[in-house]
């Protein structure tokens, strides 16, 4: 039997607004399961209830009805957070702390101390590529660096579940690409990831399953392939195909009862193009004895 990293059952949350008779229903009868080791994307427009669901999972808000569990521990209990690492949207950490001090602080909150904490903090800085900025105050960090230190603090307690709220918001494509690679690395280490993002392209690249929320309800859920693929269509990409060959394909398709719907030149992914022209190229190996 596979363990559920997240189990949400009939969860509802209502907020009472002053001078308004009807409460605002932020989440309505939500149920979902995220098995351990999966990358799950929670999508939805602004105000759809994603953040409230996340806050309930983290014990920051209490549900009006229903319950939520993290690795079988009710998320109302503080001990459920032993298994969780959280990166909030646009994180603002203490600006007066350096990168290393930030990780030491959060590590202490996770019960780490002494040499193991120092080693763990240094290792985390290396993992997110901030070793060189370890002794710089966070006030001088760029947006991308803040997101990466945020990821490092989320990971410092060796969580089994990572909850990431817009981890690439405001980050440039190169930084965004690095964060995506890190998430895939966490997945390969068996860490479950709950990802809330508006970057649909990125969600598509890294999530195993997605859930779409709208007006507080889960309106669609499933494996990405099942949700977005057209089961009765097939894509072929040919190289050096002559117009006559394409014409022959069309005739063959018609003869066999199929229909050639579209033919176009495939475009490179814009992000890949951007990275190709902005990332530094690897240097050519130097020739011995040659001087410039």
């Amino acid at each position: 039997m596979s363990t559920s990293a997240i189990s949400i059952q009939n969860l509802s949350k209502e907020f009472h607004v002053p001078f308004r008779r009807e409460p605002v229903r932020a989440v309505q009868n939500l149920s979902l399961e995220v098995p351990a080791g999966e990358v799950y994307g929670l999508l939805g427009p602004n105000g759809s209830g994603k953040s409230t669901t996340m806050k309930i999972l983290l014990g920051l808000v209490s549900p009006t009805a229903g319950s939520s569990f993290i690795f079988n521990v009710n998320s109302k209990q503080v001990e459920s957070r032993e298994s969780v690492g959280f990166l909030p949207e646009n994180p603002y950490f203490y600006k007066y702390l350096t990168g290393l001090e930030t990780l030491l602080f959060f590590g202490k909150l996770c019960g780490l101390q002494g040499k193991p904490l120092q080693e763990k903090a240094r290792h985390m800085l290396q993992t997110v590529g901030l070793s060189d900025a370890a002794d710089r105050r966070l006030g001088g960090y760029s947006k991308g660096m803040l997101q990466r230190i945020g990821l490092a603090q989320a990971l410092i307690g060796d969580p089994r579940l990572l909850v990431l709220d817009e981890p690439t918001a405001g980050v440039d494509p190169a930084g965004s690409h690095e964060i995506r690679d890190l998430i895939l690395q966490f997945k390969s280490q068996g860490i479950t990831v709950l990802l809330c993002s508006h970057m649909l392209n990125q969600v598509q690249q890294i999530c195993d399953r997605i859930g779409v929320m709208n007006h507080g309800k889960l309106v669609a859920e499933g494996r990405l392939d099942d949700l977005i693929s057209a089961p009765n269509q097939t894509e072929l990409v040919l190289e050096n195909a002559s117009p006559s060959l394409i014409e022959a394909f069309g005739r063959l398709a018609t003869d066999s009862g199929a229909r050639l719907l579209d033919q176009r030149k495939p475009h490179a992914d814009l992000e890949r193009f951007f990275l190709k022209i902005t990332q530094p190229k690897p240097e050519a190996p130097s020739t011995p004895g040659r001087t410039s």
Binding site: L58, L60, F71, R81, E82, P91, Y92, Y96, G157
Partner: protein, 293 residues
């Protein structure tokens, strides 16, 4: 099924980490410039008393020093505590901290402990500055007495100077000043758990500070004779119980003239102060624990 991770309900390490971080935050905000102001005030008062005072200059200096210490420690606690919770919530660092295995009780206790450490450190530094200036002034007075006093009166004059200088009987008074500042900052923390802005918290805390200094009048109305109207009696009882009598902590005047504070009174006032700190902190915890973040 995965076994639930072991978690201790209360960890002094987590509280210490939060307290240390709060202290560091406040120190790096350069709040200790406050102490510089205090030092300038005391040194200025010392010079002023040489030139203009007609009273015993050491007594005037003690009066000014202890009064300033009381005001500065209260203000420091008020300003540092009022912004703690709103700033953490605004910056969302509160979410990041509470998403760790940290209870709200530990968070609140850690934050308050950080402010307590800061106020204690500030009172200690102010006491050192105060004792230093008083000591220098004492030496100046002794040197002046040696020159101007007649041999018959010299011993008496020196005794009068020494008894007006920094003595051990000042320490209980300074401790009560510290306790008053701690009590007021706990009250400010309680207010910040319900308030939506730091400005509201500061203003309300100042108003309560003022009420606390006239609370004795309300208590007299409550405990007074039967001629007091019933409604007024209930109101006075409410004011007397909810707000601490801060006037009890004002022992500066007595100490400045050299009167030793009776230890029984010191322990009574200390006990009352600690009781209010505990009650206000527990109330703050109850409100903060049920707050939607």
């Amino acid at each position: 099924m995965t076994a639930a991770p072991k978690h201790s309900l209360f960890s002094s390490r987590r509280v210490l980490a939060l307290a240390h971080n709060t202290l560091l935050e406040l120190i790096r905000l350069k709040v200790f410039y406050f102490i510089l102001l205090f030092a300038l005030l005391i040194i200025g008062s010392s010079i002023f008393t040489i030139q203009f005072s007609f009273q015993n200059p050491l007594q005037v200096l003690k009066d000014v020093g202890l009064g300033a210490m009381s005001i500065f420690s209260w203000l420091l606690g008020l300003l540092c505590t009022a912004g703690l919770l709103p700033k953490d919530q605004e910056d969302r660092t509160l979410y990041t901290i509470l998403a760790k295995p940290v209870s709200r009780f530990e968070y609140l206790l850690g934050k308050l402990s950080g402010v307590f450490l800061l106020i204690t450190l500030a009172v200690l530094l102010m006491s050192v500055v105060f004792a230093g200036v008083l000591g220098i002034r004492e030496q100046q007075e002794i040197a002046a007495a040696m020159q101007s006093s007649s041999p018959q009166t010299l011993a008496l004059d020196l005794e009068a100077i020494r008894s007006a200088a920094f003595q051990a009987n000042l320490i209980p008074g300074i401790l009560l000043i510290l306790l008053k500042a701690l009590l007021c900052s706990t009250l400010t923390l309680l207010l910040s758990t319900v308030a939506t802005s730091s400005v509201f918290t500061i203003l309300t805390s100042v108003v309560i500070y003022l009420i606390g200094h006239v609370q004795g009048i309300a208590r007299e109305a409550w405990l007074g004779g039967s001629e007091t109207a019933a409604a007024l009696k209930v109101l006075s009882a409410g004011v007397s119980l909810v707000f601490p009598d801060l006037q009890l902590f004002n022992v500066v005047d007595e100490i400045a003239v050299g009167t030793a504070l009776p230890m029984a009174l010191f322990w009574q006032v200390s006990g009352l102060g600690l009781f209010y700190i505990l009650v206000y902190f527990l109330l703050a915890q109850v409100i903060f624990a049920s707050r939607e973040l």
